[in-house]
């Protein structure tokens, strides 16, 4: 190839910084993209804006006892003051707070309130997630087309079914097959068993209602060893990172597989500032990063680029990647980038106490409860007059323990100590998770003036729930109370914390897929309509959200898009 001395420094740098594929973000979907692309033989650069977190080695709190934390995992006033958003997450405590961003370092603005809860490190929020995994069905894929909200999904269940199976077979999903058309079964490991009261509740619900069932929570906690990981040890300390590999995270599962191929280059501390557009080829030629620590800019180049920076991160990245060709943001000829932001709405339901099973207890802390699949608006018989779409419940039963029994009365002294030591009565918590309609007005834009530490514009979020969600919430709470009444619970307490959007940490929809290039950003293969070598498979691609926990769908869409991208690459179409 000629005299190396003739190659100028710039070209050398380009050659050194060139890969077959670049993946932006190492969370649940980015980890999958890296694994799939590496396994298909592509030299892949995985860019992560935060620090590295190595499986096991970097789970610094995983083996700590409660007494080893100064404030016993109670969140401090200082943390609440400095991190007013992150501390709103139910998972936030001293055991895992190092996996949440600092609100001071990573500000954003809120035209209308939205809790943007984030984890900037290798693995992202796959370390912190709730691990619940449910397939979508055609009830969800057809919803937009049928009721006219949002853009029609360009795919149907038949297009994704095999990819659900594919990712489940690797990840490992514990659950019980139920044969429901609207909540299709996964490829299951044995379910994580119900305890006595949950079993009774399941039996009673079945007896009282023809339209609903209670099934074991479907989770990526492994009920038996799987692909060299797990099984779950029932510590229920998942969000600290699991030294047993008992649940699915990028760190435990996908990234190690990508590493073993020899094709992965992992680059932490790499904040992607811009996707670079090539006017000649009408393709993305690469990305420009800013080093988180040195603030130095570097460009990386590749044939294909996967954006998995999370829903709001990906939208922001596209909006800030402007060029002569894309003055309103990369691949944004539709003007839809940033719009149609969704979350699930939740934190509503009821609790009730039970007189049963006073002589029964359990051993081990299971990392999931039970699930009542959606039963509203499935068909004409279940059609609701006040709202469209639907919701599902998660529930779990336990005995009251010291943290509850300590406030049950005003006793103190030896009798109080005796009371603390005894298992209290059983109770059941029933909380609903509802679908949020896609709405153009719920959006992410760039703040016109404010910049972060790296000189990048802040995201501005404007989000509110609509009338449909409000009407649905009434039924979510009323049905919870009704079910607890019907199944013999006492002291039933309805609750509604009415949290701002984002609190469920299921952001979706800012870079939606669709059939029409004028109203959507991605096609049915998660490929940008405008730029064919860019694929987006994080939550931003979702045209609607269903009421199911969404991560499993991101995994399946990612594996599917990787398969498509590599076949297109081989056909020289990219």
């Amino acid at each position: 190839m000629g005299d190396p001395k003739q190659v100028n420094i710039n070209n050398k740098a380009v050659a050194g910084n060139t890969y077959d594929a670049i993946v932006v973000g190492s969370g649940i979907s980015g980890g999958w993209a890296a694994k799939e692309l590496c396994e298909k033989g592509l030299k892949t650069l995985l860019l992560e804006r935060g620090r590295n977190v190595e499986h096991i080695k970097d789970y610094s709190t995983a083996n700590m006892h409660p007494w080893e934390f100064d404030n016993r995992l109670e969140v401090s006033e200082k943390d609440k003051l400095e991190n007013p958003v992150q501390t709103k997450s139910f998972a936030y405590n001293d055991g895992c707070k190092h996996f949440f961003v600092s609100d001071q370092d990573h500000p954003y603005t809120q035209s209308k309130p939205f809790n943007w809860i984030r984890g900037y490190q290798v693995g992202g929020r796959s370390l912190l997630w709730g691990r619940q995994t449910y397939r979508l069905s055609d009830l969800d894929f057809e919803a937009n087309a049928k009721d006219g909200h949002g853009a029609d999904w360009p795919i149907r269940y038949k297009d994704i079914e095999q990819w659900y199976s594919y990712v489940e077979t690797f990840a490992g999903i514990s659950g019980q097959a139920e044969g429901l058309a609207h909540l299709p079964d996964s490829v299951f490991l044995p379910p994580i068993e119900m305890n006595c009261l949950e079993k009774q509740f399941a039996k009673d619900i079945k007896a009282h209602y023809k339209d609903r069932i209670v099934t074991n929570g479907r989770v990526t906690n492994l009920s038996r060893g799987w692909n060299g990981r797990g099984p779950c040890q029932y510590r229920n300390l998942c969000s600290r990172g699991c030294p047993f590999g008992g649940y699915f995270s990028s760190n435990a599962a996908t990234i190690p597989m990508a590493v073993t191929t020899g094709n992965l280059t992992l680059r932490p501390h790499a904040i992607v500032a811009e996707v670079l557009y090539d006017e000649q080829t009408n393709k993305a030629k690469g990305v420009r990063i800013i080093d988180e620590l040195t603030k130095e800019s570097t460009e990386f180049f590749a044939k294909i680029i996967f954006l998995n920076a999370s829903t709001i991160g990906t939208a922001t990245l596209l909006l800030q990647s402007t060029s002569k060709h894309f003055p309103d943001g990369f691949g944004n000829s539709s003007g839809e980038v940033g719009h149609n932001l969704m979350d699930h709405h939740s934190s509503i339901g009821a609790t009730g106490d039970s007189d049963s099973f006073n002589d029964q207890y359990y051993k081990g802390r299971k990392p999931t409860g039970v699930y009542i699949p959606r039963f509203r608006n499935l068909n004409d018989q279940t059609r609701q007059k006040d709202f469209i779409r639907g919701y599902a419940y998660q529930a779990d039963a336990k005995r009251h323990e010291w943290k509850d029994t300590m406030t049950m009365n005003d006793s103190f002294g030896a009798s109080f100590k005796e009371q603390l030591a005894k298992p209290g009565p059983w109770f059941l918590w029933l909380g609903a998770f509802g679908e949020c309609l896609p709405n153009h007005e719920n959006k992410v834009t760039l703040d016109k003036e404010k910049k972060d530490k790296w000189g990048l514009p802040l995201a501005d979020i404007s989000f509110s729930y609509g009338e449909n969600e409000k009407a649905m919430r009434k039924d979510m709470q009323a049905s919870a109370v009704e079910m607890l009444n019907a199944t013999g619970f006492k002291n039933i307490q309805p609750f509604d914390y009415d949290p701002a959007g984002g609190t469920e940490v299921h952001e979706m929809g800012t870079v939606r897929m669709g059939k029409d290039v004028k109203t959507s950003v991605l096609n049915g293969n998660n490929q940008m309509h405008d730029v064919k070598n860019v694929f987006i498979t994080d939550g931003s691609c979702m045209p609607s959200g269903g009421c199911q926990n969404p991560s499993l769908t991101y995994m399946a869409l990612t594996a599917r898009a990787c398969d498509f991208a590599v076949s297109e690459l081989k056909k020289n179409n990219l």
């Binding site: 006892h65 409660p66 007494w67 934390f69 100064d70 404030n71 016993r72 995992l73 109670e74 969140v75 401090s76 006033e77 200082k78 994580i192 068993e193 119900m194 305890n195 006595c196 949950e198 079993k199 040890q233 029932y234 510590r235 229920n236 099973f357 002589d359 029964q360 207890y361 359990y362 051993k363 081990g364 802390r365 299971k366 336990k398 005995r399 323990e401 010291w402 943290k403 029994t405 300590m406 406030t407 005003d410 103190f412 002294g413 030896a414 109080f416 100590k417 005796e418 603390l420 030591a421 005894k422 298992p423 209290g424």
Partner: protein, 191 residues
């Protein structure tokens, strides 16, 4: 929604009518808390915590060093209102002990200590009912309830409390969903 509105209107009515009267009290719970008082009165906190959770056939609050955790949590976890109520409460306990038993709390017999804590419990009853909830929200929890809850959290998460009074199972290894309780079955320390 209706219930919440009703509560709000009671709160506003009550609040408006008593605003002048409670001005001094408002200052009392919002002033800069005297945190140095805590370190100077570790023994008092330890004796109060021991009265809440005494040594029996298993170690009590003192042996579990509950006071250090309570003081740390008052400093770092409690909001300003709770800090002030707790610190002022400690001062009130000393005052009450001196005026009724001519001695500081730590010097009293166990029976006298129970009597003093009983007094503060009766004074601070504020859990039950809607009014109680509003009172808690507005004025903060009573000294007794702060003392009891912080001592209990500190005790049940201590090594002594978790492993001796309660049952601690750090790595269960498996899940057994329905187990017949045994006589003297202890409650799990963590969930």
């Amino acid at each position: 929604m209706n219930r919440r509105k009703a509560i709000l209107s009671i709160f506003l009515l009550g609040g408006g009518a008593t605003a002048v009267f409670t001005g001094y009290k408002w200052y009392g719970i919002h002033k800069k808390p005297d945190l140095s008082f805590l370190d100077a009165h570790q023994a008092l906190v330890a004796d109060l915590a021991e009265t809440i959770i005494p040594a029996t056939d298993t170690p009590g609050a003192k042996q579990a060093m509950v006071h250090l955790t309570v003081i740390s949590m008052i400093k770092e976890v409690a909001d300003r209102k709770t800090k002030n109520i707790f610190i002022d409460g400690l001062k009130d306990v000393e005052h009450y002990s001196n005026s009724h038993f001519s001695n500081s709390f730590s010097e009293l017999t166990a029976t006298q200590q129970i009597e003093v804590v009983g007094h503060f419990r009766d004074e601070g009853k504020n859990y039950s009912g809607t009014i109680g909830k509003i009172k808690n929200k507005f004025a903060g929890k009573s000294f007794f309830h702060i003392l009891k809850e912080y001592s209990t959290i500190a005790f049940c998460t201590s090594k002594n409390g978790a492993t001796k009074t309660l049952a601690y199972d750090f790595i269960p290894g498996k899940f057994e969903p329905c187990l017949q309780m045994t006589p003297g079955q202890k409650s799990w320390a963590t969930k």
